[in-house]
């Protein structure tokens, strides 16, 4: 059992990061009633821009570039943690604008549009950053490994887990304790009601999309050392995200978090026994869950059901 511990920790860490992605995803589904198949691409945008921010590659060879690289890696990493999600958020808002002609039409169109966007973004990433696997340079403080009780643990995973917990709490505080958050939460449950109360639904949608996208982008930055960085990475994320909100229930904050931890654990533990099959386990889990219980653990009837 103790042998499983690293895998369990890996799984939980993965789960916490999934939770960030799923939270953004479920807010978007709640307010927009759109399944954002491009959510993974927003994740990827965050990750790739972080790469650029840290490596400064776009400005290589210029005085600015040289000055940029002279900045401490830790500072560049922190900036990446801010800039990556911000740009992902912008991309999300742009996507929302593209979605507007599809509102009021059958859900197929929104789905197709986000699907197309996912492809376009992936191609764009391929064109700008190339098709190969990339790596993020990490500051010394969060890199490497440490010993505990005779076992080796990756420092980064602890950082990632801690960071995610902090981020999840921050999101919760935002949604529960601020008035902006309250509007977003309300919008996720009943957008018509929010409009009736006088809020500009169009602006709400834009903000929610941006916010959800930024969360995905944030997860993207943090997840690179764990999940890898290649153009296809976005697509690989959407299925777990969807799976999580189905299990946890659309519109449920803690449902998403708990379900994310479960999915992460599932992947982590299958990783212990059959590493090659761990990603497959997600799809099998999806089929098992959707085959038998479509409303999730804590969810209510949602736009997912027509």
């Amino acid at each position: 059992m103790i042998d499983l511990l690293p895998h369990i920790i890996n799984g939980l860490t993965l789960g916490l990061l999934f939770a960030l992605i799923a939270l953004g995803f479920t807010l978007i589904v709640g307010v927009m009633e759109v399944i954002n198949l491009a959510h993974g691409s927003l994740f990827a945008i965050g990750a790739y821009f972080a790469l650029t921010v840290i490596a400064g590659s776009w400005f290589a060879g210029t005085p600015f570039g040289a000055w940029w690289l002279s900045l401490p890696l830790g500072l560049r990493y922190v900036l990446a943690l801010a800039i990556g999600p911000a740009l992902a958020g912008l991309a999300g808002m742009l996507l929302e604008l593209c979605l507007r002609p599809t509102y009021g039409k059958p859900p197929l169109y929104g789905l197709l549009l986000t699907f197309g966007a996912a492809l376009v973004i992936e191609e764009l990433i391929r064109l700008i950053w190339g098709t190969g696997e990339q790596n993020l340079a990490l500051p010394q403080a969060i890199n490497g490994a440490f010993l505990l009780n005779g076992m080796i643990f990756s420092t980064y995973r602890f950082f990632a887990a801690g960071f995610s917990i902090a981020a999840i709490i921050a999101v919760w505080l935002f949604l529960e304790r601020t008035s902006a958050g309250a509007v977003i939460k309300a919008g996720a449950h009943d957008s018509e009601m929010v409009r009736a109360l006088g809020y500009d639904l169009a602006r709400l949608r834009l903000v929610v999309f941006g916010f959800g996208a930024a969360l995905a982008g944030l997860a993207g930055v943090v997840m690179v050392p764990i999940w890898g960085l290649r153009p296809h990475v976005g697509v690989d994320i959407v299925i777990p995200a969807f799976l999580i909100i189905v299990i946890g229930g659309v519109g449920s904050f803690w449902g998403a978090v708990i379900a994310a931890l479960l999915v992460g654990l599932a992947i982590g533990i299958t990783g212990a026994y059959a590493a090659a099959w761990s990603t497959m386990s997600m799809y099998l889990l999806l089929i098992a869950i959707l085959g038998f219980r479509s409303r999730g653990l804590l969810g209510r009837k949602s736009a997912l059901e027509h």
Binding site: I35, L112, M280, Y283, E305
Partner: protein
């Protein structure tokens, strides 16, 4: 927006003018393509994908069941054909039969699971199953050759009684593929306008009412899924012959997504011929645009997004609109179809 059921509410002949046009184009293709700067092999690719897309549209456009994982059945057909040649016998008809059978069984199993679900659950489950098949193709190394693919698939000769034709030449294979395609076209057309096809469309339009007038909706959904998988399998066997190999990539979400995009852009949501236009448009874009710029897929994706936003009726729908506007001086209002011998 107009829709599929708009366009023909009239008695349908077995053979229609667009079919004849297609047949003539196919006939001329091996000479036509090089003449416009393209290459002969493209004809085979286009024929294969038209077949795949037509079968797919029975599910997607006609029945309104949105499968984003249909590339899996194309791939299964290809692998089944290849494995039959390698392990059973080098035989054209045997291979085709194996491909259709394998894809059909896979489709029937997945379809049985899927057909009770709707909407987004349906779509995401199809992605899930598609990814599983892709994954299996990648991992079952000993059977499928994994990432390297199943190689060395022969092109068995076509034997009809005493008559035998070699298909090793691209031109010959093309004509065989074109002939199969025309048969698929005729059958799909007939099906779309048959009682079975009309019920499928009824299910798309109003599943509840279809149920309340007595149809076993689940069975129809299952049947059309299986059928479209079988047609995909047939197209897959041609693919295996054309490439002389089978790879996992056709089962990927990327390729499954491509056929969805081709069908929408072409106008599969409103027209039987939408998939045909869509496939041709895609391949022309790929080879003409792709010759000009490496970023062609990016532009194609943008075109797709623009179409979804602005012209979801696709190329066929836009064409139909132009033609209707052009003939506005003719009384286009309701008239009963002529029921003389079609």
């Amino acid at each position: 927006m107009i829709s599929l059921s708009d366009i023909p509410a009239r008695p349908s002949a077995w053979i229609t003018p667009p079919m004849i046009a297609l047949a003539l184009l196919l006939l001329a293709a091996p000479d036509l393509l090089p003449a416009i700067g393209l290459y002969q092999y493209l004809g085979i690719e286009i024929a294969i994908w038209i077949g795949f897309a037509l079968g797919f549209n029975l599910l997607f456009g006609y029945t309104g069941l949105h499968s984003f994982g249909h590339g899996a059945y194309l791939g299964i057909g290809a692998y089944a054909f290849g494995l039959f040649q390698h392990h059973v016998a080098v035989s054209l008809w045997g291979g085709l039969f194996a491909a259709v059978l394998a894809a059909g069984i896979a489709g029937a199993l997945v379809g049985a699971f899927l057909s009770h679900r709707r909407g987004i659950y349906y779509a995401l489950l199809t992605i899930g199953f598609g990814q599983i098949f892709w994954f299996l193709a990648m991992k079952l190394h000993r059977v499928t050759g994994g990432e390297d693919g199943l190689l060395g698939i022969p092109r068995p000769p076509l034997t009809l009684g005493p008559w035998q034709v070699a298909l090793t030449d691209n031109r010959a294979l093309f004509y065989f593929a074109a002939a199969l395609l025309m048969i698929m076209v005729v059958l799909c057309w007939r099906l779309a306008n048959s009682p079975f096809g009309r019920v499928l469309q009824a299910i798309r339009q109003n599943e509840t009412r279809a149920r309340f007038v007595g149809y076993e909706v689940w069975r129809f959904k299952w049947a059309v899924f299986t059928l479209s998988a079988m047609l995909a399998g047939l197209a897959g066997s041609l693919l295996a012959m054309a490439q002389q190999s089978a790879y996992p990539d056709v089962m990927s979400l990327h390729q499954s997504g491509l056929v969805v995009m081709m069908v929408l852009v072409g106008g599969g949501l409103v027209s039987f011929w939408g998939p045909v236009l869509g496939v041709v448009f895609y391949f022309v874009a790929r080879d003409v645009l792709g010759g000009l710029t490496e970023t062609w897929l990016f532009w194609y994706g943008l075109i797709f997004m623009a179409m979804v936003m602005l012209r979801p009726e696709g190329l066929a729908g836009m064409l139909h609109g132009l033609l209707r506007r052009g003939s506005r001086h003719q009384p286009s209002s309701a008239r009963a179809p002529a029921t003389e011998a079609a």
